[in-house]
């Protein structure tokens, strides 16, 4: 079976080619059902193949293997194959991408029904899955970069999917360009790695970086540059600003790309090259700091949003912050575990939010919702489970993963540390905003939009929701085959010491958040204009709502100077030098032609003057 691993990304790619190619040969759009069958079917088959290969892989003792499709680049000392490296980590990612991806494809088949771009939608989505699969399967960084940029393109295409609204195009552009800033750092990182190690093969680099005596300066530089790529793709500080705007795309896209899979690529990259990061204490600290700061500031922003999708977007940034935090403290498997559980419950939340939005005729403002629990039972159930997982209430999947992160952070720092404190505070904040969302949408009085609620869930939409509910609840019981991958992780080597103080705090934090949310909801503090006169409402909330002013700062510091400068120099200042030479010659031309008067007397006189001048020269010299 393992030899067929190449078919895993190929199947969705074939789906893409069929769907995109259909437009070349037919004037009419192909039927929606056919598009959905090709789109969802190709990913479903890939998921099936992954399941079969995964079973064989585990039966063989989780032995990593490599499959080369063909030699891709081979010139001047650079060798990079279209080669796939499969180990426990890759398999986990494959499972998430094809499994959750398939469910979201199914849901989309119902959600997008009636849209003009139905076929186009599925073609983009299939291309995305294919690129994402290549990203996690690549055995060298060049191929990984191919998948990396490929998912970025699909993200661009899907954010700008409804192209008739120019604002969507702007949001898509922002996402692409901001992530490309990170990608460029990553590309430079690849240059550093290639120069130093003479290869882009990930396992070779890992082997050499993990060996004693590696140049710590090079490791730090390379790791930080890769981190630059990771923060861009995973929307971490300081490149997080694109993700809230990326919500312009269709909601299932937000579930698949901007929650479950693509945005976790940064986490995957760092986990994949973890020996390189471990070789540099500074880089590890940087990862942990980025994660802890991001999880906290994004959590605070989620607390004050009014758009249902923006709340989820900020919570995604925040949860990926937890993953980075985990990576930074060496809790590699806990970070990946959180990636998996987050994929389940965040996909669930986004899809459920999609149902709400569709049922309320594209209303996204939570203050116009409320009291929906009776009108949309399946969605309500999904939201309850999703929010419980997000808040990490005990015995949900989110609890197991987040608990492990906080515990290992405590151990890593050997006690109380400000980053751990941020993580714990973040857990309380998460509890508050999760239940604020749940309470405002499904409890309380009916808002203006709720009155027109018309449950849009069809079987093809509620089916995936229910499956995801199960996964989100039970996902904590999964054992991921990561022991062979993260050999330095104390959780894998059985050296994990459980500190009971930290454990109790980690369990208590979300419960405190829940209590605060319930109390505040009862007091009416969550209402639209509540507290608008207080210092919090006037100063803090708008600042948080606008993402702590990052957008405004970038606009003032980068965007406007750049466009201003570009506008000033539109006609190319270099050209003015050449235009100047034209003017000089024209002036000279006019002066000289003025001497051509046509008068004989003038010519005779100048001739005499010239002769005298020459004679004088001769006489003097």
């Amino acid at each position: 079976m393992q030899d067929y691993i190449g078919w895993v990304p190929l199947l969705p790619f074939i789906g893409f080619v069929l769907l995109a190619g259909a437009a070349l040969f037919r004037k009419q759009e192909i039927p929606e059902t056919l598009s959905a069958i090709i789109g969802a079917g190709s990913v479903g088959l890939a998921a099936l193949l992954v399941a079969l290969i995964g079973r064989e892989f585990l039966a063989n003792g989780a032995e990593p293997f490599t499959v080369t499709a063909w030699q891709w680049i081979d010139t001047g000392g650079l060798q990079a194959g279209f080669s796939f490296y499969i180990d426990g980590l890759t398999l986990v990612m494959l499972g998430v991408i094809t499994g959750v991806g398939f469910l979201i494809h199914l849901y989309s088949a119902g959600y997008m029904r009636g849209d003009d771009g139905y076929r186009r939608y599925f073609s983009y989505l299939n291309l995305f899955v294919s690129a994402m699969l290549i990203l996690v399967m690549a055995d060298n960084l060049a191929l990984l970069y191919l998948g990396w940029e490929g998912v970025g393109l699909c993200s661009y295409l899907l954010i700008g999917f409804w192209y008739k609204d120019a604002a969507n195009g702007a949001a898509a552009r922002k996402a692409f360009i901001v992530t490309r800033v990170g990608d460029t750092a990553m590309a430079i990182g690849l240059c550093v790695l290639f120069m130093h190690f003479g290869t882009l093969d990930i396992q070779q680099i890992n082997g050499e970086a993990g060996a004693p005596g590696v140049d710590a300066g090079i490791a730090t530089l390379a790791a930080l540059l890769l981190l630059g790529g990771a923060v861009g793709k995973s929307a971490q500080m300081p490149l997080q600003t694109w993700l809230p705007d990326a919500m312009a795309g269709p909601t299932p896209v937000s579930a698949l790309i901007h929650a479950a899979t693509m945005v976790t690529a940064g986490v995957y990259l760092i986990a994949r090259t973890h020996p390189l990061f471990e070789a540099s204490e500074f880089a590890m600290m940087a990862v942990a700091t980025v994660g802890a700061l991001t999880l906290f500031i994004a959590g605070c922003s989620a607390l004050v949003q009014s758009d249902i999708k923006r709340i989820l977007a900020y919570s995604t940034i925040s949860q990926i912050g937890y993953m980075f935090f985990a990576l930074g403290v060496g809790a590699w498997s806990a970070g990946i575990f959180h990636l998996v559980t987050h994929a389940f419950f965040k996909a669930l939340l986004f899809l459920a939010a999609g149902s709400v939005i569709l049922s309320l005729h594209h209303e996204q403002d939570i203050f116009r919702m409320g009291g929906l629990r009776k009108k949309m039972p399946v969605t309500f159930l999904s939201f309850v489970i999703g929010c419980a997982c997000l808040a990490a209430l005990p015995f949900t999947s989110g609890f197991y993963s987040k608990d492990a992160i906080l515990l290992q952070a405590w151990n890593h720092f050997g006690g109380l540390h400000w980053l751990w404190l941020l993580g714990t505070l973040g857990a309380i904040v998460t509890g508050v905003y999760s239940f604020r969302l749940l309470l405002l949408v499904f409890f309380g009085k009916e808002g203006s939009a709720s009155k027109h609620c018309n449950d849009a869930n069809t079987a093809i939409m509620s089916g995936p929701l229910l499956v995801l509910c199960t996964l989100a609840l039970a996902g904590g019981l999964l054992t991921l085959p990561l022991a062979g991958v993260f050999t330095t992780d104390p959780a894998q080597t059985g050296q994990l010491v459980i500190n009971h103080t930290a454990e109790i705090i980690a369990i208590a934090a979300p419960l405190i958040g829940l209590a605060i949310a319930l109390f505040a909801f009862r007091k009416g503090w969550f209402a639209e204009n509540a507290g608008s006169k207080t210092w919090f409402g006037k100063q803090l909330a708008p600042w948080w709502r606008n993402g702590w002013g990052f957008d405004a700062a970038y606009d003032a510091l980068l965007v406007r100077p750049f466009t201003g400068l570009a506008g000033l120099n539109k006609s190319d200042i270099v050209d003015s030098f050449y235009k100047f030479t034209i003017q000089v010659s024209q002036v000279l031309h006019r002066q000289l032609s003025a001497t051509q008067t046509g008068q004989l007397r003038w010519y005779a006189m100048t001739m005499v003057a010239g002769s005298i001048f020459i004679l004088a020269l001769v006489a003097l010299l």
Partner: protein
């Protein structure tokens, strides 16, 4: 003989196309299409060499020249007709002919006036270009260099848009002034070589052992460099390009951007580096800096433009910066990348110019501020434009990415600062390529188009087939870059070895500032 046949067919085809206008209005178009296709078929003759190269026959086992023709021309001055063909020339001639076809098709409906003369000039330009790519005698090289210039001048001056005379004269003066420098350098080189060896010859292979003093060699190298840098173009010698590209008819823009610019890069690779390895190595830091500046400056100016064609033109400045950077990194990987960039940029830019031409034909403007919402009207055109835009911004999986990626990886050890700056150009490329998509295709249809009587038609097969073919080629290059790399490997490796023998530090062992800097005269 193939080189001579191709050049002759193009010359003769040009004359025939001019004459056939008399008999049938469409005659010239078909004649010129037929001549280019005939040349393409002739080129198939080299399938054996191509498959040998692709199957990975080692570089040493391949003969350097697939075909070499040599005949006397002016024996008194040592001028000979020497035309050689190797993998590098083969690739560039193939590119010339393929895009030549694309150009004929793109101008099928655009050119109504003096169709015969148009195709005469068009084919003679192509003939000159093929000559440049094969000539191994410097005198002959210069001859073809001029042959491709004059008909191009007519293409712009006669069939161009608005400000065409200004653009044509500017193009002419820039190229002519710089090629004068090259002529001086060629003559001086031959003269000094005569002084040293007692042989008068323009044969490039004999001139390799000229034994010039380093200072002399440096100045002569500069003469070549300026001529090639103008063609490339490199900042600050680039300002002829936006005007010429913008004003030229679509076919002219395609030829200019996709092929003519490559003659500059080809000259650097074929003549300048091998003849003056030491001087080039000494000059490399400056040239790489110019390359990096071109990348960033071109990207920024591309972003600032509101004329769609000007945007594409400035993007060429940016992309050709990668070629300069790669060539002067003086190692196989980067030079291979530069050659790949020549091919991939040729295809992607030709695609973009063809698209601008189609839009201009339909709504008679190139101002992007007056466009918008074209996706609704022409979804297929939007899809094709999207493809070429992302090719232009270097999306992996397409040829342009392979080129830029290998240039960056290869150039980094030689000159880190320039490479990092060049990498930042990748962001710039995303900025200008996507703003173009945004302004032209996203959003709602603007009012200004509502007054256009005819609806905006989507692409016809005549328009889309060449574009799809180019798109497929870009995908092929992106997934199987050996299609180019294996063919150009002998040239790239020979040059890199010559340069490395001058530069003591090897690529991976390079540790500090380039030692070449100290050899500055």
């Amino acid at each position: 003989m193939i080189q001579i046949s191709i050049i002759s067919i193009l010359f003769a085809g040009g004359v025939l196309a001019w004459l056939s206008e008399q008999f049938r209005p469409d005659g010239s178009r078909w004649v010129s299409l037929a001549s280019i296709v005939a040349c393409l078929l002739l080129l198939m003759n080299f399938n054996g060499n191509v498959s040998a190269a692709l199957s990975g026959t080692s570089v040493a086992a391949q003969a350097q020249w697939w075909e070499l023709v040599s005949a006397e021309w002016i024996p008194r001055f040592g001028v000979n007709l020497i035309l050689g063909l190797d993998g590098l020339s083969y690739l560039l001639i193939l590119l010339t002919l393929l895009l030549g076809i694309a150009g004929v098709l793109a101008s099928w409906k655009e050119i109504h006036d003096r169709v015969g003369f148009f195709h005469f000039n068009y084919l003679w330009t192509l003939a000159g270009i093929v000559g440049v790519f094969t000539a191994l005698d410097l005198f002959l090289f210069f001859f073809f260099w001029e042959v491709m210039l004059i008909p191009m001048l007519f293409l712009i001056a006669i069939w161009g848009h608005g400000n065409r005379i200004y653009a044509a004269i500017k193009f002419f003066i820039f190229t002519q002034a710089s090629s004068l420098l090259m002529l001086f350098a060629i003559v001086a080189l031959v003269y000094f070589n005569y002084q040293n060896t007692g042989v008068v010859t323009f044969d490039y292979r004999q001139l390799l052992d000229h034994g010039l003093a380093p200072t002399t060699a440096f100045w002569l190298m500069l003469g070549f460099f300026i001529a090639f840098a103008v063609k490339l173009p490199a900042v600050p010698l680039h300002t002829w390009l936006p005007d010429a590209h913008t004003q030229a008819p679509t076919a002219g823009s395609i030829i200019l951007a996709a092929i003519l610019l490559k003659t500059g890069a080809y000259g650097l690779i074929r003549f300048m580096l091998p003849i003056f390895p030491e001087a080039s190595a000494a000059f490399a830091p400056v040239a790489m800096a110019i390359g990096a500046i071109s990348i960033l400056y071109g990207a920024k100016l591309a972003f600032a433009q509101s004329d769609m064609k000007r945007l594409v033109a400035y993007s060429s400045v940016s992309h050709m910066g990668f070629v300069l950077l790669g060539i002067f990194a003086l190692n196989t990987l980067a030079i291979q990348g530069a050659i790949m960039q020549m091919i991939a940029h040729g295809l992607s830019t030709a695609g973009l110019f063809a698209l601008v031409g189609m839009i201009q034909e339909r709504i008679h403007t190139r101002e992007m501020d007056r466009m918008g919402g074209l996706w609704i009207k022409a979804p297929r055109m939007a899809a094709i434009a999207l493809f070429f835009a992302v090719a232009s911004l270097g999306l992996p999986g397409l040829g342009n990415f392979i080129a830029e990626f290998t240039v960056l990886l290869g150039a980094f050890p030689t000159n880190r600062l320039a490479t990092v700056l060049a990498a930042i150009g990748l962001i710039g490329a995303a900025v200008y390529a996507l703003i173009m998509m945004q302004k032209v295709f996203f959003g709602k249809t603007r009012d200004q188009q509502a007054d256009e009587p005819q609806a905006f038609a989507d692409v016809t097969p005549r328009e889309s087939v060449p574009l799809l073919a180019m798109a497929l080629l870009l995908v092929a290059l992106g997934l199987l870059p050996k299609l180019v790399f294996n063919l150009s490997a002998p040239s790239a490796e020979t040059i890199a070895q010559a340069a490395q023998s001058v530069l003591p530090s090897s690529r991976l062992a390079d540790t500090g500032a380039t030692p070449a800097l100290r050899q500055w005269p």
